[in-house]
Structure formats: C-alpha cells, structure tokens
Amino acid sequence: TGDRSGRRPSKKRALRAEGAAGRRGAQPGQKERVRGSPGPGSPRRKQAERRRHREELGERGRSSAERTCSERRKDRRTSFKEQRAPSKKEKEVPRKEETWKRLKKHRSPSLASSASRRESLSEEELARILEQVEDKKKLIATMRNKPWPMAKKLTELREAQEFVEKYEGALGKGKGKRLYAYRMLMAKKWVKFKRDFDNFKTQCIPWEMKIKDIESHFGSSVASYFIFLRWMYGVNLVLFGLIFGLVIIPEGYIKYSALFYGYYNNQRTIGWLRYRLPMAYFMVGVSVFGYSLMIVIRSMASNTQGSASEGESTNFTFSFKMFTSWDYLIGNSETADNKYASITTSFKESIVDEQESNKEENIHLTRFLRVLANFLIICCLCGSGYLIYFVVKRSQEFSKMQNVSWYERNEVEIVMSLLGMFCPPLFETIAALENYHPRIGLKWQLGRIFALFLGNLYTFLLALMDDVHLKLSNEEKIKNITHWTLVNYYNSSGWNESVPRPPLHPADVPRGSCWETAVGIEFMRLTVSDMLVTYITILLGDFLRACFVRFMNYCWCWDLEAGFPSYAEFDISGNVLGLIFNQGMIWMGSFYAPGLVGINVLRLLTSMYFQCWAVMSSNVPHERVFKASRSNNFYMGLLLLVLFLSLLPVAYTIMSLPPSFDCGPFSGKNRMYDVIQETIENDFPTFLGKIFAFLANPGLIIPAILLMFLAIYYLNSVSKSLSRANAQLRKKIQALREVEKSHKSVKGRTTARDSEDTAKGNSKNATQLQLNKEGTTPHSAGQSQTTDPKAQAPGLSSSAIMVTLPASRHLPVSRPPGARPDSGHARPQTHPWRSASGKSAPSPPH
C-alpha cells in the first residue's frame, strides 16, 4: 500500500493550506488524510499514528474554531466530549496540543471570514464541496471496514459527520436547498429505520443460542445441519401460511378431513366474497412449487457469490490447510483436541501425498474390489426397489380385502422406513472394500444414499400410479352406476311433479374411490412413519447406546467409551439427505393433502428440539472434521434436484390424469387445469380471455421457448468467454511473476558480482549496495503483484512478456542460490540484515 509514501506530502500540503487560510485549502488535505490507512503492525505505524494524531488534534482545533461561527449548534458539545474521551487515554498529547492551539489562534479569524462568505460560493466550489461531502458520506458508510482501532474510528467518524452536517446545508440554492435538506433528512431516517429493522430481524431468528451451543461443541459442520433445518422450517412455515390462509381457512372450520384433497368441493365460489376455491386451490398448488423453486435458487445464488473462483483453489492446498483450517467457533476443549489431531493428520497426509503422489500397491486388486463393491451396491438398490414395488402391489390386494391387520395396512411405509434405516450402514460396510480416500468415499456414500432414496421414492410413485390408473378405470363404471341411480331416483313414479325432490343423501349413492385423497393418504402415512422411524432411531441408536456406554463402562471387560460401541457421531450427511427427501415428499404430497405442510412444520419444530437435545446429550464430535462451507451449496443443489423430481409427478397428474368425478375442487372437469380456462371465461372481461387464448397459442409458445434457448446459449457462451479471459489474466499474472523472479535473480546476480568485485577492496560498500537493492525490490514487487488482475492487465503489455522470456530462459543458470559461490556469498549478507531490520530499522512498506 503506497499510502504512507503519500502521507508526508499530503500533510505538508494540508499545513500549507491551513496557513494560507480558508476552507478551500484545508479540505483536500483532510480528504487525503482520511484515505490513508496505516500498514498493520509495522514499526513505522506508531510514528504514523502519532503524526496522524497530531493532525487530528489540529483538525479538531480547527473544527472547534469553525464551530464558533457556524449556525448549527446542536449536540456539538456531547460529540466533542466523546471525541476527546478516547484520546485522553494516550498520554502523549498535551504538549502538542498547545502548539496546535497556538496555530489555531492565528488561523481562526480567516476561517470566520470564510464562513461569512459562504453565501457567495461559486459553482465550482459548490461542486467540489458536494464531492467532498459525498466522499465523507462514503467514508462514514464504510468506516467499519477499516482496520483501525475503535478510538481512531470514532474520531474519524465524528469529523466526517461534522463535515457533512456543516456543508450539507450549504448545497443547493433556494428551493433546491430545502429539497436537498429534506432528502438528506429522509435518507438519514431511512438508514436508521433499516438498521432498526435489521436488528429486529436478527432478533426474530429463533434458536440462536441452541445452534451456538452446538457450534462451540461440534464445530461449524454439525451446526450447518441445524441451520439448514431452521431454514427448512422457515420455508415450510411460509408454505403452510400460503395453504392455510388461501385454502383451508376459506373452506371453513378445520377438521381431520380438511387435510386431504377430497374434503374440498367444487363450488365455484364461496360466501359473500365469492371466493373461488377451486381456482385458489390450483394456484396455491402451483405457487407452492414456484415459491420453493425461487427461494432455493436465490439462496444458492447468494451462496455462490461468496465463493471465489473454483479452479484456482487447487493451487493452495498447503496454504489453505495452514491459514484456514482452524474453526474459531470451537469453544470446547475436547473438540479442539479432535481438531488438533485432524489438522495434524491432514498435514502429514498432504506431505506424504506430495512426496509420493502416484504410488499404487496393487492396482488390480483395488480395481476388482471396487467393481465388486459397486456391483453389490447396485444389487442392493435393485433389491430394495423390487421389494417396494412388491409391497405396494401387495397392499393393493389388501385394500380390496376386509378386516386387514394393522401391519398389513401399513406395510409399505414400514418397509420403506426400514430400508432407509438399514441400507446406508450396509453401504458403508461395502464401501470399506473400496479403500477410497475418506473424502472421496464420503462423496460416493452420499451419492449411493441419494440413489437409494430416489429409487425408493420413484418405485413407490410408479406403483402408486398403477393403482391410480386402476382406480380411474373403475371410476368409469361407478360413474355410470351413480348416474343411473340418480336418474332412477328422480324419475321414479309416484312423486308429485310440482314439488322438487329433496336431494339424495350422498351415502345412498355409490361413490367413486377419489384417487387424489388416496394418494394424499399414502404420502401422509409415509411422512408420519418416516418421522417416527427417525425419532426411534435417534432414541435407540444414539441415546440408548450412549446410556449403555456411559453406565456399563464401570462393569465391563473392555473400555466401552474408547472401544467397540463408543458414542455415536452425528451423521451430518445422512441427516441432511433425510431432511431433503422428507421435503421432497412434502412437495409431492402437498397438492393432494394440503395439511401435509402443517404436519411437516410440526415435525421440523419437534426435530429441532429433539435433535438438539440428542446431539448435546449423546453424540461426540467428529474425528474427522468436514468443511461446512462447501456443503451449503451442495445441500441446496440436492434440494433443487429433489424439488424438480417431485415437481414431475405432480405436473404429470395435473396435466394428464382426469380428476375424480365426485370429489375434490376439480370434480366434473376433464382435466385439473381446466379451472383456469373456466375462471378466465367466466370471471374476466372477454378481451382478457382473448389475450390468454392468444398467449396459449402454440405459434407463440414455440418461439418463446426458442428465444429462451437462444438466451441460454448466449449466456453460456458469454460465461465461457469470460472464463477464458479469466484464465488468460491468470496466465498474465504468472508471466508477471516470472518477470519479477527473473528481475530479482538478474539483480541478485549483478549485485553479487559487484560485491565480489568490490569485496576485494571494500566489503562495506558492497553491503550498502546490497541493502539498497534489497530495499527497493520488495517494494516494487509488492506494488505490481496486487491480487486484482484487472488492475494489472492494462499495465502489462505484450512486450513485457517478450522481454521476460529470454530473461527467464537463462534464469535457471543463475538462479540456484546455493550453487554458485558468488550468490552464496551474497545471501548470508542479506539475511542478518533482514532479521535485524525487522526489529530496529523501519522495514520497507508492504
């Protein structure tokens, strides 16, 4: 940072300007001073600080002088007092203060005159002041980003605020002035309101303390699961509000059956508001998916914004391990010990990897084992899929029979939950064959569990779809029977034609099977049983195991805590996947069972408390600590995939299956989406209907889709070219680095030669030269190798590269430092100086 080199002149200028009197000169100095920031921890920093302090005092003195002639007096005194309070702590001030007071005295009259001249500000002065005010405002807004101690930030802030307050009013003329002042006032109010609102928002976030506890015990990776759970809860709460407010409440009071599709009827409008329930039902179903998609994609996008370029991260494996592996949230010594151990292993591993990166003992055996493991796992997946299909088929048999037992009724759900419980550990056992690196092994494991869940869910859906088709074909018959029953009822003889007949009681008419409700019930069962199995697993697998280990340890042959059963670790990936698939079921089922979302809200609420308790009471921190930040977007990606996959079957049923003829809001229609057409035709003006018809025209839709494809293609190519440009810039940086290196080595060589030459005569001189060279090169290097590639691109011409290439070509000859006697001679000279300079002499600015 070259600020300190610009420091002295700016200060001088400020002084001179003050001597010349007038605000005009003072402000540029002030501006410059504000921009600079001291380098961290450098020995010169204290001097700079002191100097700055002096300036601040001058500033303060000046501002207090100005204050005497300014109109605004409010809360000046308090701010002044506060401003001074921190500076009192440092006891080096008083003497300098006096000198500044003297200065201030002879300066104040001119200031007063300048203040009185304010009315006659010229245009350009106004523009300049406006600019400065904007600068100050920017400074105020970004003050928190400055790496300064609080006392300094406070004084800077006060000054900037005073400046802004003082000159803000001077801007604008006549009417514009008042408008400007008003706008400023509103902006201030808006900022304050926003801050209060933010405070309020953070206060509304629940379970902060719980998550913080977990964080300090288990590190941020386990906590990331709970943060995900909380986020999920929020999303479900919104979905529940949507469904509850727009569908369940309008229909009337809540009862058990309101949970399901079949409860709602097909009256077009309800009550005096003429609430269009079928339409609302449809739109809510659509918007549940719409909202979920939007929120998932939005949070994915905001997650990716934070992470920088992916490709380059591989270059820094060691540095990342070194600088970013500690998790500062850990506040528990046991976790800290685990962390120490895992960091040490990762250091050792990476050192060994570096030494022998491509060493494979028996590649054929490993390959064979891996193929075998994959084969076994595919067998497991197929087996579980077939089992589910078989069970669903069997349940259709059971549903035709009377008085089936409880087990037979719930067989599908039980089998699915058991599969979900036992397959993942089985996979883990099989994966032991493969002998992968744990990180890669984890990825495989996640992929396999994902495949298992997905396969199970889709087999279940297919079997269910079979069932639905069966019911639909039956429905035709029932529909005919119902029709004839009603016709017979109304046409039967012996009834007075003038009196309308009372409607037939629904129970007397043969009813259809209402497949939508049946599907909803299946999903409801699945969700509930999934919840129960999860809780039971936690109770048995974690809590009872922990109790057993804890209390039986006193009277057991071996050490239970360290030995075989030990305590359970919190299975992050499994839990996240469970949560994601549960959400997938909710999304799929919510169209057929609107109450499902409510159930899910309850489920998430209870699991938040239950799992928090279970983790804190019966789990131990991970041996290997995983990184959390990457996984956030990984979870979100899985969630998006599951959302898309659960959208498919729902869209299919809406678009291509006829709804049941006698139940639900869409009864009597050919397809569910007909409700839109109906609403448009009946409730909107005709021209809107025409517009919609026009929009639905394939002639318009196909071009729209084409346009979308074109846009995707365009954006894709843009991103490709951008990444190419990125790669090129990176190459340029590397080339620049080569330049630096070659420069250095060339210089080092010349100085070494020089020193060799002069060493015979005067060795002192040589060291002097060496010092100069060494002193200058790091500075230039620090200047040119800034991290921002854009800043360098223009500066680096192609000729620079051309120049470097020959230089770097004969570089290897000169470079090895220890090899040549002359450079070997030069090195030892530099080092003592370096180490000494760190303490005594001011080191070159970095």
Binding site: G39, P40, G41, S42, P86, K89, M143, R144, N145, P147, P149, M150, A151, L154, D198, N199, K201, T202, C204, I205, E208, M209, I211, E215, A223, W231, G234, S307, S313, F316, S319, M322, F323, T324, S325, W326, Y328, L329, G331, N332, S333, A336, Y340, A341, F347, I351, E354, Q355, S629, R630, K741, K744, P778, A781, G782, Q785, T786, G838, S843, H846
Partner: protein, 213 residues
C-alpha cells in the same frame, strides 16, 4: 419468519434473552449504542453490542460495573482468555494482543473488545477478516510472515501434545511447500497482499473465522 439463508444464523442471541445476567442490573438504556456510534463502526447489531457489554461487565470487579467506568476500564489478558468462547482457541493470546490498544498490549478496553467481536462477526467483510488474520498469525509483529511465524503457526495448529507435533523435517517440508505456493515475490516471507490473495480464494475462511458470544 427466520431469515431464509443458510448463513444467516450466526448473530448472537438477542440481548434480553442472551443468558447470564450480570450481578447488578445494568441500566441498558444508558448504553444506547447509537450514542457511541458503535453500530456505525462495527458489524454488530444493537443486541450484540448490549450482550457484549454485559459479558464484558461480568469480567469486571463488582465495584467497577457502572456504565461510565465499564467503558473506561481495561480488563487484563488473563480474564479475557478465560471467556469460554476463547478458551479452546490456540490463537487466543495473539487475538487479544492484536486487538489491544494499551501500550504493553496486555489488556482490552470495551472498545477493543467490540473491535474484536466485530471482526469475528458473521457480517464482517472477508477483507477485514483476512487483514486481522494476518496480524494474528504475524507472531513477531514485523509485518510479514516469515519462517519463524509459520512454524509457530503450525505448532499452534497441531496442539500441545507430543504425539501430534510435527517432526523437524516435516515442518521444514511443510513450510517450504507453503512458501512455494504463497510467496509470490519469492522473498522468503509472506506479506499482507500475498496472504490476502491466498485467503480470498479459500472457500472456508469466512465461515470459520468467526467468534460469537
């Protein structure tokens, strides 16, 4: 509704329900954060500032807990290190020294404490985080990370136990590799801009460089 973001969760709890009460009921109204502009100068919310103040007061002896005094008085290093949030941290002493403004670098005022929490808060920018991380890792305060700093850093990361220590050759290898990766200008040390260059590419740094009260 909770903030719909995975990262949202790490602000500390609201002041009123934040747990431990200090001995004497603090006049919370008198520590109006806007009066001291702490909210403008830090990344903390009002509740977090109030909570920080309460925790800070707990470290003070009973008779110094009044509003005015608590803002002036300094707390010694040992007391700060006894905070459970810092207890297990291998860099706790460095952290305190970096944020201390006293001449001997051995005590923290409330303002220093707030600075510390602000830098380690969830909303602080990666730039300021990496800046302070550099100063924390710069054990001899000379403005660059040299070999001694790096080996000290490795020792901090591998803990105090004998079994987790790296051997001398391993240490040398490790530091050589790190310098090979990060020392762009090849002067044998890592300076601030080189450090920030590396850190800005790390996906995990901002999420793990956090301390929440």
């Amino acid at each position: 509704m909770p903030e719909p973001s995975l990262r949202a969760g790490l602000h500390c709890g609201a002041g009123s329900r934040g747990g431990r009460q200090s001995g004497r009921g603090l006049p919370e109204a008198s520590l109006n954060p806007s009066r001291f502009a702490f909210q403008d100068l830090t990344f903390l919310t009002k509740q977090e500032i109030l909570l920080a103040h309460r925790r800070f007061c707990e470290l003070l002896p009973q008779e110094h807990r009044s509003m005015e005094e608590s803002l002036q008085i300094r707390v010694s290093l040992e007391q700060i290190l006894s905070l459970p949030e810092l207890k297990a941290n291998p860099f706790k002493e460095r952290i305190c020294r970096v944020f201390s403004t006293s001449p001997a670098r051995d005590s923290l005022s409330f303002e220093d404490f707030l600075d510390l929490l602000s830098v380690f808060s969830d909303t602080a920018t990666p730039d300021i985080k990496s800046h302070y991380a550099f100063r924390i890792f710069d054990f001899d305060d000379d403005g660059t990370l040299n070999r001694e700093d790096l080996s000290q850093l490795v020792n901090c990361l591998t803990g105090q136990g004998e079994d987790t220590r790296l051997s001398v050759s391993e240490m040398k290898q490790l530091i050589d590799n790190i310098l090979e990766e990060s020392d762009i200008d090849r002067d044998g040390t890592i300076n601030l801009s080189e450090f920030q260059h590396v850190i800005s590419r790390s996906p995990d740094f901002a999420s793990s460089f956090k301390i929440v009260l």
